[in-house]
């Protein structure tokens, strides 16, 4: 283990709150405490990735000649709307219904 490796990043309450917000996860206070400790431990153990001298190695990419062949650009029937919407929790007139997006938009009428 080299001495110049960067120190493990600190996972504090603010980081957990920030990441939970980005993740769209409403965590309970207990989950926040648990994940703060666990993420800190996991990232600490992953610090050994910083030991490696990667030189000019690029990031693994998608440049694989065997895969990625595109199919013919041909119009085919798609899923009927009623089937596509059959699993949605709330549907009205062929639209998905969600709570108001903008504050005070409740009376803004149908889309």
């Amino acid at each position: 283990m080299s001495d110049d490796r960067s120190p493990a990043p600190t996972i504090d309450d603010a980081t957990v709150a920030h990441v939970a917000r980005l993740s769209r996860l409403e965590l309970t206070p207990e989950e926040r405490r648990l994940f703060r400790a666990q993420l800190g431990g996991i990232l600490e153990s992953f610090q050994r990735l910083t030991e490696l001298d990667l030189g000019d190695t690029p990031a693994a990419g998608q440049g694989d000649p065997a895969v990625g062949a595109l199919r013919d650009d041909r119009a085919v029937p798609s899923l009927p709307r009623e089937q596509a919407l059959a699993n949605a929790p709330a549907v009205e007139d062929g639209y998905v219904v969600v709570p108001p997006v903008i504050e005070g938009a409740e009376d803004a009428g149908t889309p």
Binding site: V19, S23, F35, I42, A60, R71, A86, N87, P99
Partner: protein, 500 residues
């Protein structure tokens, strides 16, 4: 090994069922009934299935009864198969082991499901798995764990634990699983069955509920290599619906099982047999290597110095992709929605908190962190560069040898509850399997010994798109040591009871 004529159809391999069917000696309804009886007998102790439709299976089987005795019957006519519950099945509940997808009935079949039906396979139902395939024990299923048929106090491995346990216990003849970091190979090893993760791109992922799209691959579970070859041949090949499926010829895998390994260069990976591996596991693997040498394979010691970095690289890359793939579960298009929401963002956040289990949340958090501003270069990009180092190292190694071997996992099946509170301990079960996913290489788990009453799996890794050699080495080992030792006591007891 030729099965005894008196064996229950539930314990026969697919290739034997197929031979008897073509000779007109066995009807699919008879086979499906035997498997359903086995399910009735052992399922209360195993819990391999999340959904079972016995009536539909018997109906489908009856359709093939009339064709018994026909030479031109499709490859899997009347063979009962189980599907991991992250494979979409039209009109049939598909949960991926998650509460957030409770009640979801996909409007289409995954390509592998379509191909199985075309091949005449009888779909029995959907098998239990870790939620969204995230786990190594099937304990992360929202619907309770599956138990190991060798010892119900132990895990079957994961994430495809239900599929592995079903095949081991005779609750299905064949099964499909998915493998993102070892989710076919590790449960295969823990349950004493053959599990194969094909080359990335070999099998269409269309209709597989995505976890980490650059790593996910669907593959077979079977009780021997010949059955795995039979199943792989049916599901492999280019699919216009999956742009990452490869346009590479699919060989006739069963026909290539010669059992000959003379002159084959067998790369033994030093890093996979170092400290951290249970002595019993290491011994069983060394015995298997000696057996293959005895058959004429040439042992070559290989070093993969970067292999120990695969685990942290994987646990950055996979959660990063998961955090993006799982953004779709927000209570809008399918699945659960919270009933306590005043605004859109609140609905997303609360739906996801209520619907996801702890491991899924942990990985979404980890992945989001690794992709977030300020940490992207240090974590995600660095992990992807390490992945490239590992990929090159493994491809270089496979330029000098024909296959690489080592243990599938450092231990045999561990007790239920032992690791659920400690995510890092759980991740360690994947230490030898994740390098293949990072490199996109094919790998099989084949039973190679029994230690303390539990099976041990040998991992066989091959060159890209060379599943044929991987399967042939597995077949050669089976021919030498037999498969009879790899039947869990529970299935053996049920087999005796049925015949009595």
């Amino acid at each position: 090994m030729t099965p005894t004529p008196s064996a229950s159809p539930a314990d026969l391999p697919a290739w034997e069922l197929r031979a008897r069917y073509r000779r007109g000696e066995m009807r699919p309804t008879e086979v499906v009934r035997a498997v359903l009886d086995r399910i009735d007998a052992v399922e209360p102790r195993i819990h391999a299935y999340l959904y079972l439709d016995a009536d539909a299976a018997l109906r489908d089987a009856a359709r093939w009864d009339a064709a018994a005795g026909r030479e031109d019957a499709p490859a899997l006519a009347g063979v009962p198969v189980a599907l991991k519950d992250n494979l979409c099945t039209r009109g049939v509940p598909t949960t991926a082991g998650s509460r957030i997808l409770e009640g979801f009935r996909p409007p289409y079949d995954a390509t592998v499901v379509t191909r199985l039906r075309e091949a005449g396979a009888i779909v029995l139902g959907k098998t239990n798995c870790d939620e969204f395939a995230m786990g190594s024990s099937t304990e992360n299923s929202a619907f309770g764990p599956t138990r190991n048929p060798w010892d119900p106090a132990r895990v079957p491995g994961g994430s495809s634990g239900g599929s592995a346990a079903a095949v081991a216990a005779g609750e299905a003849t064949l099964a499909l699983g998915s493998d993102t970091g070892g989710s076919i190979r590790e449960p295969g090893a823990f349950c004493g069955v053959v599990g194969l993760k094909p080359t990335y791109g070999r099998v269409s992922r269309y209709g597989l509920i995505a976890f980490a799209s650059s790593l996910d691959q669907i593959g077979p579970f079977a009780r021997d290599a010949r059955d795995a070859a039979l199943l792989l041949r049916e599901i492999a090949g280019r699919d216009p619906a999956d742009a990452t499926s490869a346009d590479v010829e699919v060989p006739d895998y069963p026909a290539l099982l010669t059992g000959r390994v003379r002159g084959l260069r067998l790369g033994v990976v030093r890093e996979f047999l170092e400290d951290g591996v249970d002595a019993g596991v290491a011994n069983a693997v060394r015995d298997a290597i000696r057996t293959l040498e005895g058959l004429g394979a040439r042992r070559v010691d290989v070093s993969l110095p970067h292999a120990p970095y695969a685990l942290p690289a994987y646990y950055i890359v996979a959660p990063a992709e998961a955090s993006s793939n799982l953004a779709r579960y927000a209570g809008v298009l399918y699945g659960r929605r919270t009933d306590r929401a005043d605004d859109l963002i609140g609905m997303y956040a609360r739906t996801r908190d209520e619907g996801f289990g702890a491991e899924v949340k942990r990985r979404i958090m980890l992945g989001t962190y690794a992709l977030s501003a300020g940490y992207y270069d240090a974590f995600y990009l660095r992990a992807q560069r390490v992945r490239e180092v590992i990929r090159r190292e493994m491809e270089d190694a496979l330029a000098a040898v024909d296959i690489l071997v080592g243990p599938v996992a450092p231990t045999t099946a561990f007790p239920l509850g032992e690791r659920v509170e400690d995510p890092l301990q759980m991740y360690l079960a994947d230490v030898f399997t994740v390098p293949l996913n990072l490199a996109g290489l094919p790998g099989a788990s084949v039973p190679c010994g029994v230690v303390g009453g539990l099976p041990v799996g040998l991992q066989i890794a091959g060159r890209r798109f060379d599943e044929a050699t991987v399967l042939n080495v597995a077949h050669a080992l089976e021919q030498a040591i037999g498969t009879h030792a790899f039947r869990p006591p529970l299935a053996a007891a049920e087999g005796r009871r049925t015949r009595a």
